[in-house]
């Protein structure tokens, strides 16, 4: 097999083809650059989502990265009121539900710190309203008064933990996986 050296005319033709192609793309972009702005925004947000998903535990289903139906998205959080050696697991405060939902989907240090601080500043009580022999640990709302059904909880700090779950198809087990925890002194 022999290789024929391309002639000057052939190279010139190829050069023209590339030039024409380049020119066409330039023309197309000049005409449609406005229409491509939403697409560029989509790419910027999706890349940000992928980075945060891989580096900072952002939920794959959220954040505009089109990761819905790509991984198990179940998450949950625990709020622990800590004393020296023990802890009390508390209910979700009504007023912080939305903030905690956001933290669950994206447990960034900043968000967790802000929520943990609010939790530590709250008034926590044992609530005997539902059952007399056992009480749930709840945070009183801003305008909610202390009543005879309440007893103050003593604690030193609040710990917020965010978990995801891992499913193993071989053993059919579902195990919790701690993503991040953060404690805040009272």
């Amino acid at each position: 097999m022999t290789w024929n050296k391309p002639t000057f005319t052939k190279l010139k033709k190829l050069d023209h083809t590339f030039l024409r192609f380049g020119e066409r793309i330039r023309q197309w972009l000049a005409e449609h650059w406005l229409a491509l702005i939403p697409v560029i925004v989509l790419h910027a947000i999706a890349w940000r989502q992928i980075t945060l998903r891989n580096m900072d535990h952002l939920d794959a289903w959220k954040g505009g990265g089109f990761g819905m139906f790509s991984t198990i998205g179940d998450r949950f959080y625990h709020i622990h009121l800590m004393t020296n050696k023990t802890f009390e697991c508390s209910e979700t405060p009504k007023g912080l539900r939305k903030k905690l939902s956001k933290t669950k989907k994206y447990p960034s240090y900043m968000m967790m710190e802000s929520v943990a601080k609010e939790l530590a500043e709250g008034t926590w009580v044992y609530d005997y309203k539902i059952k007399r022999d056992s009480a749930s640990v709840v945070m009183l709302g801003r305008d909610e008064p202390l009543t005879q059904h309440h007893r103050m909880v003593r604690f030193d700090s609040v710990e917020l933990q965010v978990f995801s779950v891992r499913f193993n198809k071989e053993t059919f087990t579902l195990e919790p996986r701690l993503l991040r925890k953060l404690a805040c002194l009272k």
Partner: protein
């Protein structure tokens, strides 16, 4: 009657009809207040103005206000909202920017095509993880997601009880943060989860590819693959994402293609009015 409908469909300009669809979607779907009631209320009000007055829809400023309010809502709730709400935001931005283009219709077509392609490209990139590729994701969904109960009818198995039992076990994991063993159900679910995994990868990759190709080359493929992809929503009603994709694809229909327009409109009608009812009755 039929020639009349055909005539109506023929004169229906997809790029002119699509802003109306956008407004319809804003009114019917955008009702989640999420602690910022002022923004959705304003969005609904502005959308209603657009629905009532055709002239309003022709103003760039009208769309700019609607898009800005929507963007503000997205920024405030970005960790919680679903992906189709983002896609919808890009679409509103595309409609706004089209008013500043020389060729408005062409601008909408370009935006719609590349938004769909990009959306599918990222959907595929995100699925390239061990949990999805091993089939674990769909197996878990089949065991725990009540939207998949219709599979019980196909394999003659009581999926409702299985899902309820597994949901209780998940609750146990969440309450006590301890490992549990889920009820694995019949072996058939393994096979179904594998089929679903590879079907989803194949169809999304194909969609990404055909929507990256020029419209004149892959026109038929783009629409038939999209309709095949959306057929999943016949039995898995996820209104928001389905309607967003339908609206974007509708923009890409050629004005002379009356049949395809009818098909898309019927699909939209089904998704909005009958999908939940059909799933409840038959499954």
């Amino acid at each position: 009657m039929i020639p009349k409908i055909r005539h109506k469909l023929l004169i229906l300009e997809p790029t002119k009809f699509t802003p109306l669809l956008a407004i319809f979607f804003m009114i019917t779907h955008f009702k989640d207040f999420m602690n910022h009631p002022a923004i959705p209320a304003l969005v609904a009000l502005i959308a209603a103005i657009g629905l009532l007055f055709e002239n309003a829809r022709g103003f760039a400023r009208y769309w700019a206000v609607l898009t800005s309010l929507y963007a503000a809502w997205v920024v405030l709730n970005w960790q919680l909202i679903d992906n189709h709400m983002y896609l919808w935001g890009y679409w509103l931005l595309a409609i706004t920017l089209s008013h500043f283009s020389k060729n408005k219709a062409k601008a909408l077509v370009v935006s719609a095509q590349y938004l769909i392609a990009s959306c599918m490209v990222y959907a595929i990139i995100q699925k390239m993880n061990p949990t999805f590729l091993s089939g674990d994701f769909f197996y878990f969904q089949l065991l725990t997601d009540s939207r998949f109960t219709f599979i019980g009818k196909l394999i003659q198995f009581n999926m409702v009880d299985l899902i309820v039992e597994n949901k209780l076990l998940i609750q146990e994991v969440m309450t006590n943060a301890k490992t549990v063993r889920l009820n694995p159900g019949p072996h058939m679910l393994h096979i179904i989860s594998q089929c679903l995994t590879w079907y989803v990868i194949a169809i999304e990759a194909a969609l990404a590819l055909v929507f990256l190709l020029p419209r004149r080359v892959a026109y038929a493929w783009q629409h038939w693959l999209m309709l095949l992809f959306l057929s999943t929503y016949f039995i898995l009603p996820i209104k928001g994402f389905a309607f967003a994709l339908l609206s974007l694809s509708f923009t890409l229909i050629k004005p002379t293609d009356a049949g395809l327009k009818l098909l898309y409109l019927c699909f939209m009608l089904y998704i909005f009015s009958f999908s939940v009812m059909v799933v409840n009755v038959f499954f």
